[in-house]
């Protein structure tokens, strides 16, 4: 089965709030490397973390994470 590639708007949302990766990492309770890996598409977050991101930015989860297809 082909892998589903996931795109996200984390970098744009973070930049709009003028937060650094470290700031966002603190708010999400993850490391800065994890934020960087998600933003660059090297790592797809788990569903609980994706919900946390959505809650933090007050947006529906599908507005932040979307399938590349």
């Amino acid at each position: 089965m082909a892998e589903v590639s996931v795109k996200n708007k984390l970098r744009e949302l973070r930049a709009a709030r003028d937060w650094s990766q470290a700031d966002l990492a603190d708010k999400l309770g993850v490391s800065r490397q994890t934020v960087n890996a998600i933003e660059t598409g090297k790592y797809d977050p788990s569903l609980p973390l994706a919900f946390k991101v959505a809650r933090l930015f007050r947006q529906p989860i599908e507005a932040i994470f979307a399938s590349d297809e």
Partner: protein
């Protein structure tokens, strides 16, 4: 929000994130086990040999009970990581454990086959089954594994 644990905290010389307190909290029991095992091996030939079987067995098994405490601390530390670091660390630990297992097995088979005796005759023992050797090998393979798996996410 509480900061997650990161692997660099216990990588001596790995980065600025190294924290000896955390390292000691995670790996303290491992150090104790290695020291106990080393002391047992050192004295086994002389003093310990004169003890009864129960005493000798206890001396051999004691470090392994201490290792259980280390494993509990390691598991707690890994549980305190965020999901990415937990994934990387678990992969590195699995790699380290299996690589150490295969290395020790291979070494043992080569020893039984007389390989080491042939290339370096006269040495009394080629045994690498001690806790100290295991600790060194696992650390080495953990560093290799962590470097490999971590690179993917940088």
């Amino acid at each position: 929000m509480e900061k997650p644990n990161i692997p660099d905290e216990i990588f001596l010389g790995g980065s600025k994130a190294y924290a000896w307190r955390t390292d000691w909290r995670v790996n303290g029991w491992l150090m104790v086990a290695v020291l106990m095992s080393g002391a047992g091996d050192f004295f086994f030939a002389d003093q310990v040999r004169h003890l009864n079987v129960a005493g000798r067995t206890l001396i051999v098994l004691a470090p392994f009970f201490v290792l259980l405490c280390w494993m509990r601390n390691l598991a707690r530390w890994i549980r305190g990581m965020d999901e990415l670091h937990r994934r990387i660390t678990l992969a590195a630990v699995l790699f380290a454990v299996s690589a150490t297992f295969f290395f020790v097995m291979l070494w043992h088979r080569l020893e039984v086959a007389g390989f080491f005796e042939a290339i370096c005759p006269g040495r009394r023992s080629w045994d690498i089954g001690t806790l100290g050797h295991g600790f060194l090998l696992m650390t080495l393979f953990y560093i290799v594994g962590h470097t490999l798996f971590n690179r993917r996410y940088q």
